[in-house]
Amino acid sequence: MISFSAVSKRFPGGKDALRGVSFAVEDGELLFITGHSGAGKSTLLKLIAAIERPSSGSVLVNGQNVGALKRAAIPYLRRNLGLVFQDQKLLYDRSVYDNVMLPLAFSDHPPREAARRARAALDKVGLLERERANPIQLSGGEQQRLAIARAVVNRPSILLADEPTANLDVDSAGHILDIFVAFNRVGVSVLVATHDLALVERYGTRVLRLAEGRLLGEGGGG
């Protein structure tokens, strides 16, 4: 479970990315966060993963105040989260397969188990036949799916995705969201930040709307 209470984030230079945001996400929920670029969507996701720390208020993830976590404890928080970054952060010096293996290297699985998990993750996003390719050879949608495979390979209980459908055509974007919905069905909590309202409305789930760092309200067809 994730809960924000009166969370504000001010960056050096005085820009307020979030102002007094409070909400909660239940286990196994699928939640969209929408708003224009600069509305604070990315910052909100980064606070959950302790990539940023709140200026005030508290962010709880599974009962842990992540804003107050010690530096040494942060990696263990992140291993329980699947992160899909806005810029994907794929490594182009290695194969698709090795990209997915990266999180398994430090979560310490026996080699055979790691290989099995990596292939299972690639299979779920439909990239198993491309495991030997270099990410640079993949299409935009395939690269995004690879980023998702890497995020889920450690079987996280929470999946966070920042603009996963940006720059994708409608079909590819739909395909990506379907993948998230499928993970949600097997019990993973999924938070997706997107500016694409039209796409979100098709799913009829809960939506948080952000504007200039404030929570405007909740919508959705729930």
Partner: protein, 302 residues
């Protein structure tokens, strides 16, 4: 435990991969480190050899006490007995004037000279070996004994050995300073090369950190890389010092033989080589540690 070992094995394998990926740079690095290590290591080898030379018992600093020729024969014996009880003195050897004359007579070509002398011109002599070899004690004893009854002269021998020892102390100090400066240089070299290596892998480090790698996991391959660099420098240094000593020995053997000595500059013992490897490997590790932890702090969000 098994997973701990696996993590380290993987980190070492990654370090070796990184190292081999830039063979030319790694080789130049090993040379730079090797030269930096060879200077103090070579200096150490030479000083150790000189140390062995100057502390050989034959040239131990000694004190010769010559009695007056008109002194009572008992005076030398009494003085010897007194000095045997002195804690500062390690050994007392009494050479009576008769023994000295007999020795002189035994020396080839001098028997005739001795026979021509008529009376024995040689004094009773005490040869003292001082416990420890501090100059102060030696000089103080010489002064004291010079004033003792029946003593004609107390003379400190092996002055050249003392000078050599003093020179050696100066050499050791200079060497320690040089080693300290070069150790800092070594850390700096490791820091910089690891920093370059980090920058080529910036993306991997950033992603790893973002998806849950501990700092330790990220650091480990770089620490091994620093260690490997230090060790490669040791190999170069050992080769350089070995070649240098061999070259110097070709000259030294001839020189030493002219003094009737088998002296030569010995190479490091295996213990010394291991110590050098530990020090250089440790310094490489330290430079890498400073470099990578600094980088990890830099990319830490505030």
């Amino acid at each position: 435990m098994r997973s701990w070992l696996r993590q380290h094995r993987l980190a070492l394998a990654a370090a070796i991969r990184k190292w081999r990926a830039q063979r030319a740079a790694a080789l130049l690095n090993a040379l730079a480190l090797g030269v930096a290590l060879a200077l103090p290591a070579g200096g150490y080898a030479v000083l150790e050899a000189l140390d062995r030379l100057s502390t050989r018992s034959a040239i131990d600093p000694q004190l010769s006490v010559f009695m007056r020729t008109d002194a009572e024969p008992e005076a030398a014996r009494q003085l010897a007995a007194r000095l045997r009880g002195d804690a500062r003195i390690h050994r007392v050897r009494l050479i009576t004037r008769e023994e000295a004359l007999a020795a002189l007579r035994g020396t080839s070509g001098l028997a005739d000279v001795v026979a021509a002398l008529g009376s024995n011109p040689l004094p009773d002599t005490l040869v003292l070996t001082v416990a420890g070899s501090s100059d102060g004690v030696l000089d103080q004893l010489a002064e004291e004994l010079g004033r003792a009854p029946g003593v004609a002269l107390a003379q400190v021998d092996a002055l050249w050995a003392r000078r050599l020892a003093a020179l050696e102390r100066v050499g050791r100090l200079a060497l320690a300073l040089l080693a300290a400066i070069l150790a800092v240089g070594l850390v700096a070299i490791a820091f910089n090369t690891i920093r370059l290596q980090i920058l080529t892998q910036r993306d991997e480090i950033e992603v790893s950190k973002l998806i849950g790698a501990t700092d330790g996991f990220i650091q480990r391959p770089f620490l091994y890389l620093g260690l490997l660099q230090g060790l490669s420098g040791v190999l170069v240094a050992l080769a350089l010092v070995g070649a240098g000593l061999t070259l110097m020995n070709t000259e030294i053997v001839g020189l030493a033989r002219s003094y009737g000595s088998e002296f030569r500059l010995p190479f490091f013992s295996s213990g010394e080589a291991v110590a050098l490897a530990l020090i250089a490997g440790g310094l490489g590790w330290l430079g890498a540690y400073m470099s990578v932890s600094r980088y990890l702090r830099e990319i830490e969000p505030k």
